[in-house]
Amino acid sequence: MGRVIRESGAVVSRRHLFFRECVRLGIDSLPLVLIVGAFTGAVSGWQGHYQLEGYLPFDLIGPATFKAIVLELGPVLTALIIAGRVSASIAAELGSMKVTEQIDALESMAISSTRYLAVPRIAAMTFMMPILVAQANFVALMGAAFVLTMILNLTSTQFWGLIPNFFYIYDVFSGLLKAFFFGLSSSMIGCYIGFRTTGGAEGVGAATITAFVWSCLAILILDFLLAMMLF
C-alpha cells in the first residue's frame, strides 16, 4: 500500500499504461456492467411492485427503486461483478508473470514492478469503477422503468413523478464514493495476491480464486463500514 502511494506519480509519467488499463479493465467491462444494471433494475422494479402492492401507493415505487439502486444495488452488484472479472484477472495475470519470472525480469531491468504493473491497474480501476457504477445505475433505472411501465402497467407518471422530490445529490455522491473504494480495494487485492503467487499453474489458479473471494469480502465489509459513516 505504501509503495503504491509512493509510486503513484507513475499515473502521470506512465499515463499510456493508465489509459490502456482504463480501456482493458474498465471500458471492456462495460457490456457486462450494463447487462447487470439492466437486470438489477428489472428485478428491483418487480420486487418493489410485489412488496408495495396493497400496502402503499404505487407512486412511491419510483423513489424507492431509485434509492435502492443508487445507494446500494448499483454500486455493490456492479463491484461484485467487476471483482469477479477484474480483480481475479489482475491476480491471474500478475501471478502468471510472477511464476514465469517476468516480474523478476522487470525488476532486474531496474523497472519497479509496483510502478509499472500495480499503479496503472489500481489507478485505472479506482477511476473507472464510479464511471461504471454511474452507467449501471442509469441502465438499472431504465430497466426498472421498463418492467413497471411496460409489463406491470404502471403509468410513467406513477414511476417518475415523485423521484425529483426524493432526489438528493448526496445519495448519488455516496453511491459513487462507495464505488471508488470498491474499485480501489478490489484492484489492490488483485495486485497484492498476484505479486505473492507461487507454485506454477496451480498457484495461479489458487491466486485467482483467492483474489475473487477476498475482493467480494472486502466489498461487503467496506459497504457496511461506509454505510455507517455516510448515512
Partner: protein, 250 residues
C-alpha cells in the same frame, strides 16, 4: 568486480546458501555449477538484488546491493543484464517492445533511435526481422536469444545467464554458447553463467566454481576442473550418482 561475502539464505526450514564467499573479477567469464536445487539460481538472484539474504553481503563495484535503499538498488541493477532460465519475455509485448522496454524506461532515445538500437541488439543475436513477433510465436532457442538481446540493450557491465542452454537441443545450445563467448568478447562484459551443462561450462568459462550444500567447494579453470581430485566435482563432471544402489533400486 562483484564480491559475495558469507551469504546465507533459508527458505523456511531449507538452508539453501550457507556462507557463500565468491569474487568475480571484471571481464571474467565465470560459470557456477552444481546439482539441481543447490542454490545456483538463488545465488544469481542475490547478485542483482532480487533476493535479500538472511546474512552476508553482495558488493557490486564496491557498493553493497544487499540492504541498500530501493533507489540505489535500481541504480546498481542498471549495470546488469539478466537472461532468465525461461527467457521471461513479456507475453503481452512484441519482440521489439521486449527488447526496447529498458531503453524506453531509462533513456531519452527517440522512437527511431530505439528501433535502431533494438535492431542492432537483435542483429547481435541473429534475429533481426523478428521485431513484430510475439513471444508465443518463437521457438525455445529464439526466446533465449530475444532474452539475451533484451539483456544487452542497455549496454550492461555484467551479464547473468540462468541455465542458458537448458531445454535446448545440442546444436541450438552450442549456438547459445557461441553467442555468450561472442558477446563476452565483443562487449567486454563480465559474464556469470549458472548451469549444470558441463559441455557449456567448459566451452564458455574462464573459471568454474562449484556450489554444493550451500557453499563454494571448488574454484578453478576449465582444465583444473577436468583434472581435479575433489570427489564431488569429479562425480558431477562424470555424471555419477553418489549411491549406485539408488539406481539399481529403481
Amino acid at each position: 568486480m562483484i564480491e559475495v561475502s558469507n551469504l546465507h539464505k533459508d527458505f523456511g526450514l531449507k538452508q539453501v546458501l550457507r556462507g557463500v564467499d565468491l569474487k568475480i573479477n571484471t571481464g571474467e567469464s565465470l560459470t557456477i555449477i552444481g546439482q539441481s536445487g543447490c542454490g545456483k539460481s538463488v545465488l544469481l538472484k542475490h547478485l542483482v538484488g532480487l533476493l535479500e539474504p538472511d546474512k552476508g553481503t553482495v558488493f557490486v563495484d564496491g557498493e553493497a546491493i544487499t540492504g541498500a535503499p530501493r533507489k540505489q538498488v535500481y541504480q546498481i541493477r542498471k549495470k546488469f543484464g539478466v537472461l532468465f532460465q525461461s527467457a521471461a519475455l513479456f507475453d503481452s509485448m512484441t519482440v521489439e517492445e521486449n527488447v526496447g522496454l529498458g531503453l524506453f524506461e531509462h533513456t531519452a532515445m527517440t522512437p527511431g533511435e530505439r528501433a535502431k538500437r533494438v535492431a542492432d541488439c537483435l542483429e547481435m543475436v541473429s534475429l533481426n526481422g523478428t521485431q513484430k513477433l510475439k513471444p508465443a510465436e518463437l521457438s525455445g532457442g529464439m526466446k533465449k536469444r530475444v532474452g539475451l538481446a533484451r539483456a544487452i540493450a542497455l549496454n550492461p557491465q555484467y551479464i547473468l545467464y540462468d541455465e542458458p542452454t537448458t531445454g535446448l537441443d545440442p546444436i541450438t545450445a552450442d549456438s547459445i554458447n557461441d553467442l555468450i563467448i561472442h558477446l563476452n568478447e565483443e562487449l567486454h562484459v563480465t559474464t556469470i553463467v549458472v548451469t549444470h551443462d558441463m559441455v557449456s561450462a567448459f566451452k564458455i568459462s574462464d573459471r568454474i566454481v562449484m556450489l554444493h550444500l550451500g557453499t563454494v567447494i571448488f574454484s578453478g579453470t576449465p582444465s583444473e576442473t577436468k583434472s581435479t581430485s575433489v570427489e564431488m566435482v569429479r562425480r558431477f563432471i562424470e555424471g555419477e550418482a553418489e549411491d549406485k544402489s539408488v539406481v539399481t533400486h529403481y
